[in-house]
Amino acid sequence: MAGPDDSGPPLPPDGDVQANELPEAAGRRLSGQTWSSALTVADLAACEAMGLRPVALVQGFCVMQWGFYTMAGAGSWGSGPPSQATGAAGPYAGRNSGASGGYQESWPCPHGIASLDHRWGYNLEQSWVEAAWSQGFGSAYRRMVDEAREAGAHGIVGVVDRAEYLGEQSVVEFHLSGTAVMVDGTGPAPTLWSTYLAGQRLGKLFEAGFVPVSVAAAMASVQMWPNCQTEYLMNGGIGIGPMWGGSAGGEITQVTRAETAVRHLARSAVRAQLGLDTLHGASFAVSRRQSGTGGHVIECTLRGTRVRRFKDFDPLPAPRPTVPLS
């Protein structure tokens, strides 16, 4: 199994990781006499030129089922402004903040009528979904790292990750793959590094003074149950004032807050993995889907390569523009 000093996405909770779970057949194959790689020919040539020797195409899989919604750890309803956790950036940084349970906001019904059509609205961070995503991604990542370690690699380049719903909205398959490489002229590595980059881009990263530490990724999920006012506005109705969720032609504050929060939460979660390092080549992906009657789930995934500076930056000369003659 990966050593405790390994960098990378957060480990699954204790007990979810089986010791030495690398399939025996995979171990036999990885210790064989040939190597495999997902690198293109150009990337292979670039890796060879920088002393990186491919040893195996490594993969990790994990299929996760999301748990049902529970109120455990979600704190109380109607707590007004989002929780303000210390040490994390932004007003939506209450994620995993202990008893507060993360980001949550409520919007009262402005009409004061108790009926099915008049109700409060809630934005709630789905921390159990985020935890499941983190566990699935982390398990697949660790299994990929295990294969690389079995092959005697120092790092993994050209990582590709995929997370797809398998039919149901609560079952997701995680698949990570990459090319395990050895660094010529070095002994066994205490830590195994990984990166989404390969080829010339990876070479330029090293040349610029950065070394990849690991891939970093996080998903944030916010469930939005609109209050009657938000629902009216989303359906083109007429509101009665911004303090109750916006008015026609005005901002729909509950939706805006949910959309803003999910981005902040994803960024805060990745930032928590970075320490003093930086995230390079980040990609933001936001998806929305309906959930139940009138409800919406907004999910944001942020991924990139965590890099560390190992030498002072040598500034490039100002680039010279060129015009090709064809």
Binding site: F210, N235, G275, L276, P324
Partner: protein, 291 residues
């Protein structure tokens, strides 16, 4: 010709970098960036560095039914678009400032226009001068106003703009949604089956275009700009509104720096690749058809 930098022993740099992983990370403040390594290097070459990934979102309501009947501009829709853009840009600027950035480059603009609301999401990377140096006269800001600049230009275009002596100021945007008046029954029947221009739509398109472009240029002036580069236009009918057309435009407002325009003097290069005889791996396949 300029002297080429000495070649780098990349293999030794890789070994050095990997060995550094065994030690503690250098002191500093972590950050996030969606720039590629090429873009980060380009930014450094002109004295800027990425700080943090920043975003701004706004969702604004459009009253039901405004798209269907009426005359002239659909003010509620145009206003909603402007309000959503303005609020999203303002939030991204706040995030940039709180992250210590002096501007945002590579802003991706995502706009959704729906029957009952308009949503806008902006994402970009906050940047600052290398070493967090003081704001200078050519830092791309608006005079003495501490508002950070915003640009949807890529880092490459930002560097070219910088090299040419121009400064980005902010995102200028304008939009307009206009009714295309319905034809009378007799006119519709008279034109049935004929090749005929639907002037009601053409005129509505022109009206929307003029209003949107004028608003964008007015926004550029209010940012202190003298022009707008890389204007993105979206125009046409909406799938949910059969008698309305929309025109939205945005771009980066720019102003010439104090030292004036600098000619980039691009170097002319000739590629030695010849497309006609370029190697194609597929030609080596056994089942490849002979030419």
């Amino acid at each position: 010709m300029t002297a080429s930098p000495p070649p780098v022993d990349l293999a030794s740099e890789v070994r050095r970098g990997v060995a550094a992983l065994a030690g503690p990370p250098p002191p500093g403040r972590g950050g996030t960036s969606d720039l590629s390594i090429d873009e980060a290097l380009l930014l450094h070459s002109v004295g800027w560095e990425p700080v943090e990934l920043v975003s701004g979102v706004s969702v604004v309501s459009v009253p039901w039914g405004v798209w269907s009947w009426g005359q002239g501009e659909i003010g509620a829709a145009s206003g909603a678009h402007a309000s959503a853009m303005g609020s999203a840009a303002g939030r991204m600027a706040e995030e940039c400032t709180s992250a210590g950035g002096q501007g945002v480059v590579g802003v991706r603009v995502e706009v959704g226009i729906w029957p009952t609301h308009v949503d806008v999401a902006l994402v970009g990377t906050a940047v600052r001068p290398v070493g967090n140096g003081p704001r200078t006269a050519d830092a791309g800001h608006r005079g003495s106003t501490p508002t950070p600049f915003m640009s949807d230009l890529s880092a490459r275009d930002f560097c070219l703009l910088h090299g040419a002596g121009w400064r980005p100021l902010g995102l200028a945007f304008g939009s307009s949604f206009v009714y295309a008046p319905r034809r009378t029954v007799s006119m519709a029947l008279g034109q049935a089956g004929q090749n005929v221009e639907l002037t009601n739509f053409t005129e509505a398109m022109y009206q929307a275009r003029e209003l949107a472009m004028e608003r964008m240029q007015r926004a550029a002036i209010s940012l202190g700009g003298t022009g707008v580069v890389a204007v993105v236009m979206r125009q046409g009918p909406m799938s949910f509104a059969t008698h309305a057309v929309g025109f939205t435009a945005w771009g980066t407002a720019v102003r010439l720096g104090p030292e004036g325009h600098r000619h980039l003097e691009p170097q002319v290069v000739v590629s030695l690749d010849d497309a006609r005889v370029a190697f194609q791996a597929s030609a080596l396949r056994a089942d490849a058809a002979p030419e």
